[in-house]
Amino acid sequence: MTDPLSDHAARLASDAEALERCTVRLRALARRLRADEAAPSWLHAALDAHLTACTVAYDDLSTAAVLLRAHASGSAGPFEDRE
C-alpha cells in the first residue's frame, strides 16, 4: 500500500517541474512577442508579471514537495521553511 503523503509529494515535485517548463515557455513567449508588432502593448507587462509569479510558484511548490517528502519519510528535511 502506497503512502498517500509520498504520492502527494511525488505529484507536487512533478507539478513543480511542470511549472518550471511553464516558466521557460513564458520566457520564450515573451521574447517572441516582444519582437512582434502585432502584439498588443499591454501584453508585455502581463507576461512579465506572469513570469515572475510562475517563478515564485515554482519555488513554493518545490519547497512544499521537499518538505512533504521529508515528513513522509519520517526524517527532518535540510530545508527550513521561509517566512
Binding site: 511549472l19 502585432a38 506572469h50 509569479a53 519547497t63
Partner: protein, 758 residues
C-alpha cells in the same frame, strides 16, 4: 432546379466584395493580417495550456493540504508535519506566486468560491485572462470595427478590467445605441471570449467552471456562463423518445423540391421545407448507379419554448448540450420509417438546431451500426464538442463569424484550439450581415453559392456520390412523443365494417369534431302516441304531454364524409318493459343504463352516405336535404330545405338565452339511448358524446315548419309543432361523437348476441 433558379437569394456585387472566407483546407485570404492573427492565436493557445497546468498544480497542492493522512501524521512528527503543512498553504495562497489558488475537491471548491466572492486573484485565472484578451486581440485584426467603434472598444476594455458594473454599463450603452440585434452582431466574433472573461473576473463563483471549459476548449459549456445555472438541468426537461409521422408537402412545396440532388440542391430543399418541425429523407441515385440517402434537418421552429415538436427552443437547447435528444431520436425514427436499408450510405445535412441534431445522430452507435454514415454537414450549428461514432464520417461545419448560434457551445471565431483537425471547417465573415439575419439558411446558402467558391467546390466534390436524380423522398413531421391517434382515447375503439347501399361504413361511426344543438319541445301525448301506433314504442308522458327533441349536428370531421344531420325524436320507454311509474328511477340511473330513450322519427342529412347509414344501420327514415346551421353564444339559425328548393322545410331562429351554468368539462361521456326498429323488432343503440355542453333553460327560439307535403314538416305538423318554442335547449360547440351500431332487443338476442356482418 438549377442553382440559378433557386430559393437562395441573389447577392449584389457589393455584398460579395464584403465577404472574406477561410477554411481549413489551407486556402486563406487576408494576407499579413491573417498571419499576425495566427501568431497571436498560437500565443493565446500556449497561455491557455500554461494556465491549465497552473490550475492542475493548484488542485494537487490543495489535495495534499487537505490529505487526512497529513493531519493524522502531525501527532507522529509535528515538527516536519507543520513545516510541510505551512509550505503547502503558502504554495496555494502566496500572492506573489499562485495567489489564492485553493481549488479542487470539496474543501478546495469551497475555498475557491470564498476567494471568488472576495475577489482574491490567482495566477491560473490571470494567465487565462491574458489568453482570452489575446484571442480577442487576434480577432480584432480580422474585425477592426471592434477596435475602431468607441462603444465596442469601451465594452472590451470594461470586460477585461476588474469591474462588473463597468462592463454592464458598457453593454447597456451599446444596446441602447445600436439595438440588441446590432449589438449582438458586433460582439458575435468574440462572444464566447467575452462571456468567459466576464465569468472568470466576476464575483460569481458558480460560473467559474463553465468559464474554464469555454476558455480551454476542453468541453461544451455545461452551465450558463453568466449565472452558473446548469444547462444540463434545463436540457433534460426536453423529454420524449422522438417520433416521425409521414406528411405530404404542400402543393407549392412539392413543386419546388429538387428533382436532382447536389450540395446546393439539398440546401434549396432545406429552404423549401423551412424550420417547420419537419425533416426530409431522400434517395438519390449516384453517378455509379448506387442509391444513397440524404437526411435534411432544418433549424428551430419558432413559437413556444416547449411544444410537441423536438425542434422547439428547448429542443434546440438540448440538441446543443446533450448527446441525444428528441430531435436526433425523431430523425432516427424518420430514417427507420423510410426504410433506409441496413448498410446503405447516408449523408446528414442540418442547419442550426438541425445541425446539432444530425451530429447527435452521428454520435449514435446504434445508428452507425445500421447505416454507413459518410457525411455530416452542419451549417450555423454549435457542434464543437460532438464527435461522430465512426471515424470514417466526414464532418463539415460552416459558420459565419457574426452568427451567435454556433458559439453557444462556448467556441467561436476566437477559438484558438484546433479541436477537430480532421473536420472541414468554413469559418467566414460577412460584415454586411447582422444577427439574426446572418444565421438564416438563406444567407448561408447565398454565401456558399456566390461568395465562397472554394468551399462550395469542396463540398460539392465531397458529395459527388450523392449527386444525381432523386428517386424517392418522404417528408416527416417530427414529434417529441409519438402522437396519439385522432380522437384518443374516446374514439379509439374496436371497429368493423357494415354494408350500406352507399358502400361499406365503419362502425361505430366516429366524429372527431362536431357542433351539436338540441332543442326540447313538449307535444300533446295523444299526438305522440298516434305517431307511434304500430311500433313497439310508448311515449314518455307527464300531464298529457310528451317530449320531442330536435338534434342539429354538424359533423365537421367524421368517418363519414362531413355532413349535417338533423333528427326529430320522441322520448319513449323501453320497448321491452315500458314502465311509466319507473321513470323517476330510470332518471337516476347512469345514462347508458337507462331504459327510456329517444326514438328517431326521421332524419334530414346532407350526403347520400349519411342517408344510407341512417336508413340501413339505424333503420330510421332519412331524407336528403340542404342544411345551414349557425351557432353563436347569442344566436341560433338553422334552416333545412329540400335539394334545389328555396322554401325551407323547417327553420329555427332566435337566441339560446341565459346559460344555466358555465360549460364544465365532462368527466365521462354523455350517452344518448336510441331506439329504432326493423319490422316489429326493436333495436337499441347508444350515441356517446364528449365536449362542454351548455344548458339554456329559457331559450327565445322559434321553430317554424314548412308545408306538410314533405315528410319532415309533416311530422312536425302531426306533433302540433308548426310554429312553437322549445322549453329547453343545449349547445355543444365542439363535440366528439361515437355512434354505436344497434343491437336487437329480442329474446333470441339474449342467447345470441348480435355479431358483426363479415
Amino acid at each position: 432546379m438549377t442553382p440559378e433558379n433557386t430559393p437562395i437569394p441573389a447577392r449584389t456585387p457589393e455584398e460579395r466584395d464584403q465577404v472574406s472566407g477561410e477554411s481549413d483546407s489551407g486556402a486563406r485570404c487576408g494576407g499579413a493580417g491573417e498571419e499576425a492573427s495566427g501568431r497571436l492565436m498560437a500565443a493565446a493557445r500556449e497561455l491557455a495550456e500554461i494556465a491549465h497546468a497552473l490550475r492542475e498544480a493548484s488542485v494537487h497542492a490543495t489535495a495534499a493540504l487537505h490529505e487526512p493522512a497529513l493531519a493524522a501524521s502531525l501527532r507522529r512528527s509535528p515538527g516536519t508535519g507543520l513545516r510541510a503543512q505551512r509550505a503547502l498553504l503558502r504554495a496555494v495562497t502566496d500572492r506573489r506566486g499562485l495567489g489564492w489558488a485553493v481549488s479542487g475537491g470539496r474543501a478546495g471548491t469551497l475555498g475557491a468560491k470564498l476567494g471568488g466572492l472576495v475577489h482574491a486573484g490567482n495566477l491560473p485565472i490571470r494567465v487565462m485572462t491574458t489568453s482570452l484578451r489575446l484571442r480577442i486581440a487576434a480577432v480584432v485584426l480580422h474585425h477592426p470595427e471592434l477596435a475602431e467603434d468607441p462603444l465596442l472598444r469601451r465594452l472590451l476594455e470594461a470586460v477585461s478590467a476588474d469591474g462588473d458594473l463597468a462592463a454592464g454599463r458598457a453593454l447597456h450603452a451599446l444596446i441602447r445605441d445600436r439595438g440588441a440585434a446590432r449589438a449582438l452582431s458586433g460582439i458575435a466574433p468574440i462572444f464566447g471570449e467575452l462571456l468567459a472573461l466576464r465569468a472568470l473576473l466576476d464575483k460569481n463563483p458558480l460560473n467559474d467552471n463553465t468559464a474554464w471549459l469555454i476558455a480551454t476548449g476542453l468541453g461544451a459549456a455545461t452551465a450558463d456562463p453568466l449565472t452558473g445555472m446548469s444547462n444540463r438541468v434545463v436540457a433534460r426537461l426536453d423529454r420524449g423518445a422522438g417520433a416521425a409521422v409521414p406528411v405530404e408537402p404542400a402543393p407549392h412545396e412539392a413543386g419546388r423540391l429538387s428533382t436532382r440532388g447536389s450540395f446546393l440542391d439539398y440546401l434549396c430543399d432545406l429552404l423549401v421545407i423551412r424550420p417547420t418541425g419537419r425533416a426530409l429523407v431522400q434517395t438519390v441515385r449516384g453517378p455509379d448507379g448506387v442509391e444513397r440517402h440524404v437526411v435534411l434537418a432544418p433549424g428551430m421552429r419558432t413559437g413556444g419554448f416547449d411544444t410537441d415538436s423536438p425542434a422547439d427552443l428547448l429542443g434546440a437547447f438540448s440538441s446543443t448540450v446533450l448527446d441525444s435528444g428528441p430531435y436526433s431520436r425523431s430523425l432516427a425514427a424518420a430514417v427507420a420509417d423510410y426504410g433506409v436499408p441496413e448498410g446503405a450510405e447516408v449523408a446528414l445535412i442540418g442547419h442550426s438546431a438541425g445541425g446539432s441534431a444530425i451530429m447527435s445522430l452521428a454520435q449514435d452507435p446504434e445508428f452507425n451500426a445500421r447505416h454507413v454514415l459518410t457525411d455530416a454537414i452542419a451549417i450555423g450549428s454549435p457542434i464543437d464538442f460532438k464527435q461522430p461514432a465512426s471515424p470514417a464520417t466526414r464532418v463539415s461545419s460552416i459558420t459565419n463569424h457574426h452568427d451567435i448560434i454556433p458559439t453557444l457551445d462556448g467556441q467561436g471565431a476566437g477559438n484558438c484550439f484546433a479541436l477537430h483537425p480532421d473536420w472541414y471547417i468554413v469559418d467566414y465573415t460577412d460584415s454586411t450581415h447582422l444577427f439574426p439575419a446572418c444565421h438564416g439558411l438563406e444567407q448561408y446558402a447565398a454565401n456558399l453559392r456566390d461568395d465562397l467558391p472554394e468551399a462550395r467546390a469542396h463540398l460539392e466534390a465531397q458529395l459527388t456520390a450523392y449527386t444525381g436524380p432523386i428517386v424517392r423522398r418522404r417528408l416527416y413531421r417530427l414529434y417529441d412523443h409519438a402522437p396519439h391517434p385522432a380522437g384518443f382515447p374516446f374514439l379509439t375503439v374496436p371497429t368493423h365494417s357494415r354494408h350500406t347501399s352507399e358502400g361499406p361504413v365503419t362502425v361505430p361511426v366516429r366524429t372527431f369534431d362536431a357542433t351539436v344543438f338540441t332543442a326540447w319541445f313538449t307535444v300533446p301525448a295523444e299526438k305522440a302516441a298516434a305517431l307511434l301506433t304500430g311500433t313497439p314504442f310508448t311515449p314518455v308522458t307527464a300531464a298529457s304531454r310528451a317530449i320531442a327533441v330536435l338534434h342539429f349536428t354538424t359533423h365537421h370531421r367524421s368517418t363519414l364524409d362531413p355532413h349535417h344531420e338533423t333528427t326529430l325524436s320522441l322520448l319513449v320507454h323501453s320497448p321491452l318493459h315500458p314502465r311509466p311509474t319507473g321513470l323517476l328511477r330510470d332518471l337516476l340511473r347512469a345514462p347508458a343504463l337507462r331504459h327510456a330513450g329517444l326514438h328517431p322519427l326521421a332524419a334530414a342529412v346532407t350526403t347520400p352516405q349519411a342517408r344510407a347509414a341512417a336508413a340501413d344501420l339505424w333503420s330510421h327514415p332519412a331524407h336528403l336535404t340542404e342544411t345551414t346551421l349557425t351557432l353563436t353564444p347569442t344566436a341560433v339559425e338553422a334552416a333545412i330545405t329540400a335539394p334545389g328548393e328555396t322554401t325551407p322545410l323547417l327553420v329555427l331562429t332566435g337566441t339560446p338565452g341565459p346559460r344555466l351554468r358555465p360549460p364544465a368539462p365532462r368527466r365521462s361521456a354523455a350517452t344518448r339511448v336510441l331506439y329504432s326498429r326493423t319490422g316489429n323488432t326493436p333495436y337499441r343503440s347508444t350515441l356517446q358524446s364528449t365536449g362542454p355542453t351548455t344548458t339554456h333553460p329559457v331559450p327565445r327560439l322559434l321553430l317554424t315548419a314548412g308545408a306538410p307535403e314533405h315528410p319532415l314538416p309533416a311530422l312536425l305538423h302531426a306533433l302540433s309543432l308548426p310554429r312553437t318554442r322549445p322549453f329547453l335547449c343545449q349547445t355543444t360547440p365542439s363535440a366528439r361523437l361515437l355512434h354505436h351500431p344497434p343491437a336487437p332487443l329480442t329474446s333470441s338476442s339474449v342467447d345470441h348476441p348480435l355479431t358483426p356482418e363479415p
